[in-house]
C-alpha cells in the first residue's frame, strides 16, 4: 500500500519535453530518501494541458506541478513527499490560492470540460490493466456478453445518438446495424487510428492514455455485428501508442478479455494491430481496408459500402478511436445519459486538439454545442501576446476557417457544415492577426497535393492546379480571373473526386474565399499581403528617424544585406535581402518595418 501516488504524464507531448528524465530522477531521489515503498510513481497518458508539460500530480493532495525540471525533483521529494510541504512555487500558478490549493478540476482549463472519451487519460497507468479495471474497465463488455443480445447492443448505441468522431459524423449504431444484417462466414471490426489531420492528436492520446478502452469497445462491436476478428490500423509514427496498445492487448488476452469463450458466453474475439506508413489517404475507409489487406492504400468507389463488402470482401465496421472510447460508458450509463449531453443532432462530447496561436495548447473535451468563444477564450486561455483572434481552422485539410464573427457559433456537426467548415477529427488551429489566409489555404492545398494518391483525375490534377493558382496569388502575379477559375475548379473537384480526401480538399480555399475575399483581392490588385506573411509581396525598410545605428541588425543579417556606419541610420539592400525577418526580431528600437 502506498500513501501517495505521483502521476507523471507519459504522453507524447510531455515525453518530448522531458518527462522520461523526470521519472528517472524521481525514482532515484525516492530511493535515496528511502521512500520507494511508500510512494508510487505512475506514468500516465495525456492530461490535456500539453503547453505546460512535463506535468506531474501528487495525490492525495492533488498538487499539480507544471513545467517540472529534473533539478526541481530533489526539492519536491524532500519538501513535499517527505515532509508534506507542497512546493507552491512550482505549482501550476492558477491552482495556488491564498491558503489552499485549488483542485485541478476547478481551474479554467478543466472546469468547463466534460471528460468522457478522455475519462481515464492522465488518471490511470495505461500499462496496467488492473487500473483500468479499478475504474470499471471491462464492466460494459461483461454486461453486454452476459445480459444483452447483439440487437440490444445496437439499439442502445442507436438510442444514444452517437455519431462517428472521425469526421463525417455518420450515426454509429446505424453503421453497426448494416453490418449486423449482412450474413457472412466472417466479419471484421476495424479501428481507424491513422489520424492524419495535421494538428489532431486525440486518437493518439486515447491510445497512449487508455488503450484498454479501445479493446473493450471493439470487442463489444464484434459481438454486436457478429465478428470474431478485429484490426487496429495505427500509424507507425505513433510508437508510444503502438507499444501501449500491444501491452494492453497482451494483458487482455492473458486475463481472458480477448480470445475464446469470453465471460463464458461462447463468444470469441481477437484483435491485431496493423501499422500504417502515414499516408493521409489511408484514413479514408476503403483505402484503409485495402491497406490492411496488404495492398497499396488506394480508395475504391462506394457502393458497395464496407458494411456489405469491406475488409477482405467481408462485411466490416470501421470506427475511429474516439468513437470507440464512448461505447463502454454508453453501455454502462445508458443511452439517455449520453444523449442528455450535446445538441439536438449531435450528442455527447467532442475532443478538440487546440493548437496554433493559443495559450493552453492541448486536448480539451467539451459537450457538443459549446461555443468557439468558450473553447478559445476560457478553456484555451486566449491568444498570446494580446493579439487579436482572426479565425479558427477546424477539420484540418478537409475543413474550413471560422472567422471572428462566428465565434459564438455552437460547435456541432451541422452548424460547422452550415458555415462551410466541418468537424473533421477535431483539430482546432487558432490563428491571430499575423496569419495570412491565402497562405493558410496554400499550406493545406500543398498538403493535399502531396497526399493525393493519384487514382482519380480531379484530385490528382485538380488540386495541383488549385495550388498553382494560389501560389500565383501569393506572389502577386495573379489576376481577378484567377479567383473565378479557382472557385470553379474547387466546385468541380468537390463534385467529382473519388473519395473524401478529394471531395473535401477544396474546403480550405472555399471557406477562406468566402470569409476573407478581401485578402485575396489585396494580394491580386494591390500586390500587398495584409498580414505581412507572403514574402514576395513584402519589402523591408529601416526608418531613418528611429534607427540609432547600433549595428545589431547588420551583424545578425544572414546574407549581409544591411550596411551602414556606427551611430548612423542603416540601409537594407533589397537585391540581397531574403526577407527572413531576423533584423526585425533583433532591432530594439522598432526601426525596421515590412510592408
Amino acid at each position: 500500500m502506498y500513501r501517495s501516488h505521483v502521476l507523471v504524464c507519459g504522453g507524447t507531448g510531455c515525453t518530448s519535453s522531458g518527462s522520461e528524465q523526470i521519472i528517472k530522477t524521481l525514482e532515484g531521489e525516492l530511493e535515496k530518501t528511502g521512500l520507494q515503498n511508500e510512494i508510487k510513481v505512475i506514468k500516465t497518458g495525456c492530461f490535456g494541458l500539453c503547453a505546460l508539460g512535463p506535468i506531474m500530480i501528487v495525490y492525495p493532495e492533488g498538487a499539480f506541478y507544471s513545467m517540472v525540471k529534473p533539478e526541481d525533483i530533489p526539492e519536491i521529494v524532500s519538501e513535499h513527499l517527505l515532509k508534506g510541504r507542497i512546493v507552491t512555487r512550482l505549482l501550476y500558478q492558477e491552482t495556488v490560492t491564498e491558503d489552499t490549493i485549488k483542485s485541478l478540476n476547478h481551474t479554467d482549463f478543466y472546469k468547463k470540460q466534460k471528460r468522457v472519451a478522455l475519462k481515464n487519460c492522465g488518471v490511470i497507468d495505461p500499462e496496467n490493466i488492473n487500473e483500468y479495471i479499478a475504474y470499471d474497465g471491462y464492466q460494459a463488455l461483461g454486461k453486454v456478453l452476459t445480459e444483452m443480445t447483439p440487437e440490444q447492443v445496437i439499439d442502445t448505441i442507436k438510442a444514444s445518438g452517437l455519431r462517428g468522431r472521425g469526421g463525417a459524423g455518420f450515426p454509429t449504431g446505424l453503421k453497426w446495424s448494416f453490418a449486423a444484417k449482412n450474413d457472412a462466414d466472417q466479419k471484421y471490426v476495424c479501428c481507424n487510428a491513422d489520424e492524419g489531420d495535421p494538428g489532431a492528436f486525440m486518437d493518439r492520446s486515447i491510445l497512449e492514455g487508455d488503450p484498454n478502452v479501445l479493446i473493450e469497445a471493439m470487442t463489444i462491436a464484434g459481438y454486436a455485428i457478429g465478428a470474431s476478428q478485429g484490426y487496429v490500423y495505427v500509424r507507425a509514427e505513433y510508437p508510444i501508442a503502438v507499444k501501449r496498445l500491444q501491452i494492453a492487448i497482451g494483458e487482455a488476452r492473458e486475463m481472458g478479455f480477448l480470445g475464446k469463450d469470453i465471460f463464458g458466453s461462447g463468444f470469441d474475439f481477437d484483435l491485431d494491430i496493423r501499422l500504417g506508413a502515414g499516408a493521409f489517404v489511408c484514413g479514408e475507409e476503403t483505402a484503409l481496408m485495402t491497406s490492411i489487406e496488404g495492398k497499396r492504400g488506394e480508395p475504391r468507389p462506394r457502393p458497395p459500402f464496407p458494411a456489405e463488402k469491406g475488409l477482405f470482401g467481408k462485411p466490416s465496421v470501421l470506427n475511429n478511436v474516439e468513437t470507440y472510447a464512448n461505447i463502454p460508458q454508453i453501455i454502462l450509463n445508458g443511452p439517455e445519459w449520453f444523449s442528455s449531453m450535446g445538441t439536438e443532432k449531435s450528442k455527447g462530447t467532442k475532443v478538440f486538439a487546440l493548437g496554433g496561436k493559443i495559450n493552453n495548447t492541448g486536448l480539451v473535451e467539451v459537450p457538443m454545442g459549446t461555443t468557439l468563444r468558450t473553447i478559445i477564450e476560457e478553456i484555451g486561455g486566449g491568444i498570446p501576446g494580446g493579439k487579436k483572434f482572426k479565425a479558427a481552422q477546424t477539420g484540418g485539410p478537409s475543413g474550413g476557417c471560422i472567422p471572428a464573427e462566428h465565434m459564438d457559433i455552437e460547435i456541432d456537426y451541422d452548424n460547422l457544415l452550415s458555415i462551410g467548415s466541418m468537424m473533421g477529427s477535431g483539430g482546432l488551429i487558432v490563428m491571430d492577426e499575423d496569419t495570412c489566409m491565402v497562405d493558410i489555404a496554400k499550406f493545406f492545398l500543398e498538403f493535399t497535393v502531396d497526399e493525393s494518391c493519384g487514382k482519380c483525375t480531379p484530385c490528382r490534377i485538380g488540386t495541383k492546379r488549385m495550388y498553382e493558382i494560389l501560389d500565383k496569388i501569393s506572389k502577386g502575379k495573379a489576376t481577378m480571373q484567377d479567383i473565378d477559375r479557382l472557385e470553379k475548379l474547387a466546385h468541380y473537384i468537390k463534385d467529382n473526386a473519388l473519395c473524401g480526401l478529394g471531395q473535401t480538399a477544396p474546403n480550405p480555399v472555399l471557406s477562406t474565399l468566402h470569409f476573407f475575399r478581401d485578402e485575396y483581392v489585396a494580394h491580386i490588385v494591390e500586390k500587398r499581403c495584409p498580414a505581412g506573411v507572403c514574402k514576395d509581396l513584402l519589402n523591408f525598410y529601416i526608418r531613418e528617424d528611429k534607427c540609432k545605428g547600433c549595428t545589431l541588425c547588420a551583424r545578425n543579417c544572414p546574407v549581409g544585406a544591411i550596411s551602414g556606419n556606427v551611430k548612423e541610420p542603416h540601409i537594407i539592400d533589397r537585391s540581397k535581402c531574403i526577407k527572413c525577418g531576423a533584423c526585425i526580431e533583433k532591432c530594439k528600437f522598432g526601426a525596421i518595418e515590412k510592408h
Binding site: 500500500m1 495525490y59 492525495p60 508534506g84 479495471i133 463464458g264
Partner: protein, 123 residues
C-alpha cells in the same frame, strides 16, 4: 475471465488502491506531522501503520497524508483526523499500535479515542 462476478470482485480489490486519486471533498483525512521533530519522534512508522491499516480494511474514503510542524513538538508524533462536518481531532504521542486502534475505533466506528487526544494529554 469467466464471469461478471469475477470481474467485479477484481475491480473492488483494485479500487482500494486507487481511492487516493479521487478528489472527493466528503472523504476523511488523516494527517501526520512529518516535520523534523515529528520524524525524529517516530512519525514514519505511525504514517506507515495508518496507510497499512486503511488498506487492510479497504477504507476507500480515507486519505492519509502528511504535514509540517504544528508547533507542539513535545507532543510529537502528532496526528490530526478531519471528518467531514466535524471538529478536527488531534492525537498526540502516537505509535504504530495506537494508530491501528485509531483506525478501528475512530475512522471505522466513529468513536474518538479520547485517551490519546491532546485534551487528555495536556492535563
Amino acid at each position: 475471465m469467466k464471469s461478471l462476478a469475477e470481474l467485479q470482485a477484481l475491480r473492488d480489490k483494485m479500487k482500494g488502491n486507487m481511492g487516493i486519486r479521487d478528489e472527493d471533498d466528503a472523504s476523511i483525512r488523516v494527517v501526520v506531522g512529518m516535520a523534523t521533530c515529528g520524524i525524529a519522534a517516530g512519525a514514519r512508522p505511525v504514517l506507515q501503520a495508518f496507510t497499512d491499516e486503511v488498506a487492510k480494511r479497504g477504507l476507500q474514503n480515507v486519505a492519509v497524508g502528511q504535514t509540517g510542524c504544528i508547533g507542539i513538538c513535545q507532543y510529537e508524533p502528532v496526528v490530526e483526523v478531519f471528518m467531514p462536518g466535524q471538529e478536527k481531532v488531534t492525537y498526540v504521542k502516537m505509535t504504530a499500535e495506537k494508530a491501528v486502534q485509531v483506525v478501528n475505533d475512530h475512522l471505522v466506528n466513529g468513536n474518538v479515542v479520547t485517551e490519546y487526544t491532546i485534551g487528555a494529554n495536556a492535563k
